[in-house]
Assembly symmetry: C2
Homo-oligomer: 222 residues x 2
C-alpha cells in the first residue's frame, strides 16, 4: 500500500477517497448551504452539483444524507416554516395576529415560490416545524372562540391565499400591460391605468383580500 505522495502546495486541499476522519456533512449543514446558495443564485442555481461544491464535497456524497433533491427542498421548507412568526397569536388580538402571521408567511415564501409546488402537496407528517406552526395557529383560533371543526378549513383557505399572493409578489410591475391588444380590451386597460404609475398593486391587493378573509372568518367565532 504505497502512500501516494501528497501534492505539495495544492490550493484546493483535495480530500482523497474514503471516509474522512471528521464527518463533513449533516442535514443542518446541507440546509444552510442550500439556503445560502438560493439566496445568492436563486432556485435555478440550486443544483446538487452546486450544492456539493459549496460544501466542498462530491455530488454523490450528498446522497448519504438525503434521498433526493426533493429531500433538500423539504429541508429548506422546514427551515423557512420555523421562521414564520406565529408567536403573535400569543400577544395580539385574533384579527391582528392572523394578519401579522399572514404577512410574515407571505413575505418569507415570496422569495421561495419554487418551494410552493412541493409544499402544498406535501404530507405534514415528518415536518415538525411545520406542525409547530399549525399548532400555534390552531391554538390562536381556539382562544379566539372558533368552533373546532371550522379551524382547519379557515387555515387551508388562508394558506391558499398566502401561497397565491407569494407568487404575485414576484410578478413584474408591467405584468398587466395589454400592449398591442389594448384596443380590444378597453375596460380592463382603463382599470389598469386608473391605478396610476404603480400598475401592479400586489400589496394593496394582498391587504384587501386579507381584510376580507379575516372579516368573513371572524364572524364564525362563537
Amino acid at each position: 500500500m504505497p502512500e501516494p505522495s501528497p501534492s505539495p502546495a495544492e490550493t484546493k486541499p483535495r480530500r482523497r477517497a474514503g471516509r474522512p476522519v471528521g464527518s463533513v456533512l449533516d442535514k443542518a449543514g446541507i440546509t444552510a448551504a442550500a439556503l445560502a446558495l438560493v439566496s445568492k443564485k436563486g432556485y435555478d442555481g440550486l443544483t446538487m452539483a452546486a450544492l456539493a461544491k459549496s460544501l466542498g464535497v462530491a455530488p454523490s456524497a450528498l446522497y448519504n444524507h438525503v434521498g433526493s433533491k426533493d429531500d433538500v427542498l423539504r429541508l429548506v421548507e422546514e427551515d423557512l416554516m420555523s421562521q414564520v412568526d406565529s408567536s403573535v397569536f400569543g400577544s395580539l388580538p385574533w384579527e391582528e395576529a392572523v394578519k401579522s402571521w399572514a404577512y410574515s408567511y407571505r413575505d418569507i415564501f415570496s422569495a421561495h415560490t419554487p418551494l410552493i409546488s412541493v409544499i402544498a402537496v406535501l404530507p405534514v407528517t415528518d415536518a415538525p416545524q411545520t406542525l409547530a406552526m399549525y399548532e400555534a395557529v390552531t391554538e390562536g383560533f381556539l382562544r379566539a372562540g372558533f368552533p373546532e371543526d371550522r379551524i382547519i378549513p379557515c387555515i387551508v383557505a388562508l394558506e391558499a391565499y398566502i401561497f397565491g399572493a407569494a407568487f404575485d409578489a414576484t410578478a413584474p410591475a408591467d405584468i398587466f400591460d395589454s400592449g398591442k391588444l389594448a384596443e380590444s380590451t378597453p375596460h380592463f386597460t382603463a382599470a389598469v391605468r386608473s391605478l396610476g404609475p404603480v400598475n401592479y398593486p400586489s400589496d394593496l391587493a394582498f391587504r384587501m383580500g386579507l381584510d376580507a378573509l379575516v372579516a368573513g372568518f371572524g364572524a364564525l367565532r362563537g
Copy 2:
C-alpha cells in the same frame, strides 16, 4: 444526387430530411398535442422529445415554431384560459357570477398546477385569451358598480386565492396526518380529527374563503 432507395414496407413511414411537401407542424397542433400528452402522462411526461414523438416529428423541428419549452407552456396556458367560463358575468348577478367564474378557473387549473408558476409571473401582453378573460371580468365588476381603481386589486386578490386553491385541490387526503408527532400538537390534531373521515377539506375551505372574499369585496360597490 442519387435517389435513396425507399426502404420497402417500413412500418414507420420515416420522413426524409428536408422541408416536407405539406406542413406538418403549427402552433395549434403543438398546443393540442401538448394538452393530450399532459392529460395522458402528466407534466412530467411533457418533454420536448415526447411532444415531438407524439407529433411524428424530430424534436428539433419544434423549434421552428416555438422558441423554447416555456413557449409551449404559454400556448397551453392560453388554451386553458379560453376555457375558463367568464360568460357568467353577462347572465348572473355579480356575487354568483364571481363565484361561478372562480370555481371554473380553479377547476381547470387544479389539473395544471405546474403552469401556475409560469403564468403568475407572465406579462399578459401577448396573451389574447387571457386578456379577453380579464376584459370580461372587468366589465362584470364595472356593471356591478365597482369604482374603476378597485377592480384590478380585487381581481389580483381573487386570482391569488384561486391559484393557491388549485394547489390544494391536488393535495392527498392525508396531508394533515400528524403521525408520530400527534402528541406534541394536540390542538391541531384534534381540529383535524373533528373534520371526520374527510381530513382535507379542500372544497369546504374553498367555498368558505370565496364567500368571505366576495362578501368583503361586494361592500366596495358604489
